[in-house]
């Protein structure tokens, strides 16, 4: 069955977030909540409104909120009759949930699937009194808040759940909603929260035993050991201390384990200091300064950076070394790290068979739900089983059965790929969902066609090659450019099907051109080299268009400047839904000089060409607005609205599928492929120049932009107008030449150089 319409019952933060995600994916949603007094549907309306205004945004495109129909559970339950999947996200008590399911059973069609987002009530309790048919179509779907941004979706089948129903929900969650699916067993807290919360409670207790401050714990439990920057306490502040208290209480009740929080934490909740939403928690912000709680006094003092030479030495090292190093830190820091590692590892090892169907699910749950760089089993493998045994013994903990079986590690490489240790002691292959392409196997053996410090060319099979960006933040330096030219030459020579450009970084596709190189040449006054550099970048992006084979680019996350320019020149973009794309050159006092200005001008002008009387200046104005204001999308849908993506470009919801989808596009395009022909347009010259310059003039008159920003805007205007003459026919190269000249001219100004230096130093733009 195909899920065509979704029902969400419960319009709280989670429910409206799920509704917003489904609507963002283009699926119509019915969102219901309890009735209000005057306006019967007010609670659901409020939920939708909050989701529309939430930051970060719950909707990928504000207009998609029109796909959500609101109502209340008394008058409008009928609206759910057309839904193929209804997810329950109401108050966390059995009776109201049971009552709702009883009514849903009457209303829904006989193939409709019902799931619950409960985080602790056993499924068997929730389906009490329901028919066999209902039970076959029932399971748990546990989203993480906020649903759009947290990748994990735990799926909890019951013994009665029909395998087809399970597959339908997993497929929909994976492909349409873009979530990373992990199957979990029906136990309190499932996998991620059960293990994550345990780790947090242990950290709180151990910090008292080892007399550590909040700043110290966060320094020891963050990126050092492959966890997010928010580490322990900042994470708690973001999710809310009240939530932490409720979740620990719920888990303790469900499991019978002691998960009580220290008194000082409970005290904070009682005082309403529940974290970010309350303005203070473990941290608070005073103006621009971050202050940390002193748990003894209850007061706040300026955050203290933990200065340990051993810590500094580990920064930037591979995870394996960092984890090992953390455990060997001197004094109380090492003692804390070892104790925490021992307790959490022991707990994970002991409880995995109870929570999960395999150890892979445990790793994936924590990687996807808590953004760990590597899950607990991968971390233990990094240390090696003997060292893990040693640390457990030191802490007086027994050796769990799974560890005893893990002679050769929890994972191992075999001829057919990676294998994991199963509960019965044997090894089984790690299975990716069909259509997920992960690069590790392609970086081995004969599959690396070319390689340099910034990029590699990998053989993805079926004649498709991948240009993998390996530079820091995906910056486009000389190595990437050389690799692209090598790829052009080699793919053509070998008659390959086509090229994918992409990589696997979790956050940044490309921060654009390498500004350091540019600054170096400016400092040497080597303008000839600079002109060549810009010219070569232009030729390279044009090469993407001219190549006799299809080039599909797969951008995701942060994609700026030159990264955007590459995307604009690919034959097709297969974008991840989370795409933060923009031509932000004006921020550093430049204009897009790598074809970005040209491409938007050509694209928008050509869009208007079929309309006889359309004002061609509208196209120029649109390009000017997007570039001058450095507009950056907050999603792929928004990137379409800004004109960075064309209607034929495609969006992948699930990041894990991005490269596989891009490869599939190459194979779609390859048969009978011909390169797009060169284009010409009419540039408006003086006719456009006055309008654009007036725009810059009036922004300056309004006090919104500086004089140098007027100068930048005027250079941009000159390029987009195709110069200051009469309207004329221009080729792509004509505009590229103007782009290059304007870029270099601005680069020669003191103010632009100040901007670049400032951005390189602080990472922020300078408005001079």
């Amino acid at each position: 069955m195909r899920i065509k319409k979704v029902g969400v019952v419960g319009a709280g933060v989670m429910g409206s977030g799920i509704a917003a995600l489904a609507a963002s994916a283009g699926v119509p949603v019915v969102l219901l909540d309890v009735p209000g007094e005057e306006d019967r549907s007010l609670p659901a309306k409020r939920g939708l409104e909050k989701a529309s205004k939430s930051k970060p945004a719950a909707f990928m495109d504000g207009a998609r909120s029109a796909l959500v129909e609101v109502g209340n559970t008394e008058d409008d339950l009928e609206k759910l009759s057309g839904c193929d999947w209804v997810v329950e996200v109401i108050v966390e008590q059995p009776a109201p949930k049971q009552a709702l399911f009883a009514r849903l059973e009457e209303i829904l069609h006989d193939r409709a699937i019902v799931t619950t987002n409960t985080s602790g009530i056993p499924m068997s309790v929730l389906t009490e009194g329901r028919s066999d048919s209902f039970r076959r179509r029932f399971l748990g779907t546990h989203f993480f808040n906020p649903p759009r941004y947290l990748h994990l979706l735990e799926v909890i089948p019951t013994p009665d759940t029909d395998p087809d129903v399970l597959r339908t929900v997993e497929e929909f969650g994976d492909r349409v909603l873009g979530k990373g699916i992990v199957r979990a067993k029906d136990v309190p807290g499932f996998i991620a929260n059960r293990l994550g919360v345990y780790g947090m409670v242990q950290a709180l207790r151990l910090m008292e035993e080892h007399d550590l401050t909040i700043d110290e714990v966060d320094a020891l439990t963050g990126p050092l050991i492959g966890r997010p920057k928010s580490a322990t306490f900042r994470t708690a502040d973001i999710s809310g201390l009240d939530v932490l208290k409720d979740v620990t209480a719920g888990l303790a009740a469900g499991t019978g384990e002691d998960l009580s929080l220290p008194d000082w934490v409970v005290g904070l909740v009682d005082q309403g200091r529940v974290g970010e939403k309350a303005g203070s928690g473990f941290y608070r912000k005073e103006g621009k300064q971050i202050q940390t709680l002193d748990r003894r006094t209850g007061g706040y003092a300026t955050q203290q950076k933990v200065e340990l030479p051993e810590l500094a030495a580990l920064a930037g090292r591979p995870l394996e070394e960092r984890v090992r190093g953390a455990l060997e830190l001197p004094g109380k820091h090492g003692a804390f790290s070892r104790a925490l590692f021992a307790r959490t590892s022991h707990y994970v090892l002991e409880h995995t068979p109870e929570l999960a169907f395999d150890i892979v699910s445990v790793d994936r749950a924590l990687e996807r739900g808590y953004a760990w760089e590597a899950g607990p089993y991968r971390q233990m493998d990094a240390l090696g089983a003997p060292r893990v045994r040693e640390i457990l013994a030191e802490q007086g903990l027994s050796e769990p059965e799974l560890l005893a079986e893990a002679g050769g590690g929890f994972y191992r490489e075999a001829a057919g790929g990676r294998e994991f240790l199963s509960f019965d002691g044997g090894y089984e292959p790690v299975r990716e969902a069909a259509g997920v392409l992960s690069l590790a196997p392609y970086r081995r053996g004969g599959r690396v066609l070319e390689e340099n410090a910034e990029a590699a060319l990998l053989d993805l099979g079926d004649g498709v090659a991948l240009l993998e960006l390996r530079s820091k933040m995906g910056t486009l330096g000389d190595g990437v450019i050389r690799m692209l030219h090598t790829a052009f030459e080699r793919l053509e020579r070998e008659g390959r099907a086509g090229l994918v450009i992409g990589h696997e970084d979790p956050r940044t596709f490309s921060a654009g051109a390498n500004l350091m190189t540019v600054v170096g040449a400016v400092q040497q006054g080597n303008w000839k080299a600079l002109e060549e550099m810009v010219g070569q970048f232009q030729d390279t992006v044009m090469g993407l268009r001219r190549a006799p084979f299809p080039v599909v680019i797969a951008p995701f996350g942060l994609t700026l400047g030159g990264g955007t320019e590459m995307s604009l020149h690919a034959d097709l973009v297969q974008a991840h839904a989370e795409l933060y794309m923009g031509l932000v050159e004006t921020g550093v006092g430049l204009i897009p000089g790598g074809g970005g200005t040209k491409e938007l001008l050509f694209r928008f002008t050509q869009d208007l060409q079929p309309y006889e009387d359309a004002d061609p200046f509208e196209a120029v104005k649109r390009a000017f607005g997007v570039i001058a204001m450095a507009r950056t999308s907050t999603s792929a849908l928004e990137a379409s609205g800004l004109g960075f993506l064309r209607p034929e470009d495609r969006i992948t919801m699930n990041r894990d599928r991005l490269l596989a989808d891009a490869k599939a596009r190459v194979l779609d395009l390859a048969p009978g492929y011909t390169a797009p022909p060169p284009r010409t347009i009419t540039a408006l010259g003086r006719e456009a120049l006055g309008n654009l310059r007036y725009g810059a003039w009036s922004l300056h008159e309004a006090g919104q932009i500086t004089e140098h920003e007027v100068a930048i805007a005027n250079e941009l205007a000159y390029v987009l107008a195709g110069g200051d003459g009469a309207p004329r026919t221009v080729t792509e190269q004509d505009i590229l030449d103007l782009e290059r000249e304007a870029f270099l001219k601005l680069l020669g100004t003191e103010k632009t150089q100040e901007r670049i230096a400032h951005t390189l130093k602080t990472g922020k733009p300078l408005r001079n």
Binding site: F617, L689, G690, N691, R693, E701, A702, G703, Q704
Partner: protein, 292 residues
């Protein structure tokens, strides 16, 4: 030299420029025709007696393009022998037509002239469509808001002064509206409000007889909270609703004619063009003329 007098005057209500404005979707030729007809009827004139219709319009393009004066008079049922011309002096276009009509009568070139104007900001945006500005004349295109900021700065008009002025104006308008002061000059306009359901169109006729945008509930407190409308650190915010109010509606046409031959006293003297111009003291320091 003949004396010119105004013998009849009428206007439509002023409507909001937004899509939900009561008059927003009416064609400007319809609105114009409605007042043209009214103003000659009120004076007991035969339209054939009118020698010229002078019609002001600041953005004479789009729906108010071509020669909207001529189109409107034909639509009003005036005979084809009556001529019409569209006059542009931006915001003072309507005023300008009255001056020009008076000049025609005073110099003996015409006996009866209808002067007035139309502006539908809901249909033609400020500065119009398809603009092509001269790259060397940027400051000459300065908009009314920036001009106001410069004037305020030069003459030391504070934000408080402007807000107080705006409030007084709103309160006066509200009182006048409540007391029916405008009723005599306003020609009610019948508008067709449509509602579609599939291919079915439901039409409701609505009489619009009052100005929109008069805000009786406006207060100094509310105005002082508005952010500056034109400049980041500018003073002109309170002025904003008024700018829209004035320009988004349409100005009604007074009919101008030579001193009547009968015994009736002349209802009003036509303003002299030179006086009208001298009031435009808010000229900016720029080489250009304020765009209104």
């Amino acid at each position: 030299m003949n004396e010119a007098v105004i013998v009849s005057a009428a206007r439509t209500p002023v409507g909001k420029g937004k899509k939900d404005g009561a008059l927003a979707s009416v064609h400007p030729a319809d609105l114009s025709a409605r007042v043209l007809r009214e103003v000659v009827d009120r004076a007991g004139l035969d339209p054939a007696e009118v020698e010229d219709v002078l019609w002001g319009c600041a953005m004479p393009e789009g729906s108010q393009g071509l020669n909207v004066a001529r189109l409107a008079l034909l639509h009003a049922g005036f005979p084809v022998e009556v001529s019409g011309t569209t006059i542009n002096r931006f915001c003072s276009s309507g005023l300008q037509t009255i001056a020009m009509g008076a000049q025609a009568i005073m110099s003996g070139m015409a006996d009866v002239v209808v002067a007035g104007g139309v502006e539908m900001m809901s249909q033609v945006p400020m500065s119009g469509h398809h603009t092509r500005l001269h790259p060397q004349l940027l400051e000459s295109y300065i908009g009314m808001g920036f001009t106001a900021e410069r004037v305020a700065e030069r003459w030391g008009v504070s934000r408080e002064d402007q807000d107080a002025w705006a409030i007084r104006s709103q309160q006066r308008a509200a009182r006048a509206q409540a007391e029916g002061t405008f009723d005599r000059e306003i020609v009610p306009v019948t508008v067709q409000h449509e509602r579609w359901s599939g291919a079915e169109k439901e039409v409701r006729e609505v009489q619009v007889a009052q100005d929109e945008l008069v805000r009786a509930d406006s207060s100094i407190e509310k105005l002082s909270q508005l952010r500056p409308a034109f400049k980041v650190k500018g003073s002109g915010a309170g002025a904003r609703p008024f700018a829209w109010c004035v320009s988004s509606g349409r100005r009604g046409p007074p009919a101008t004619r030579r001193t009547p031959r009968g015994n009736a006293p002349p209802p009003g003297r036509a303003p002299s063009p030179s006086r009208a111009r001298s009031r435009g003291s808010g000229r900016p320091a720029s080489p250009g003329r304020p765009r209104t």
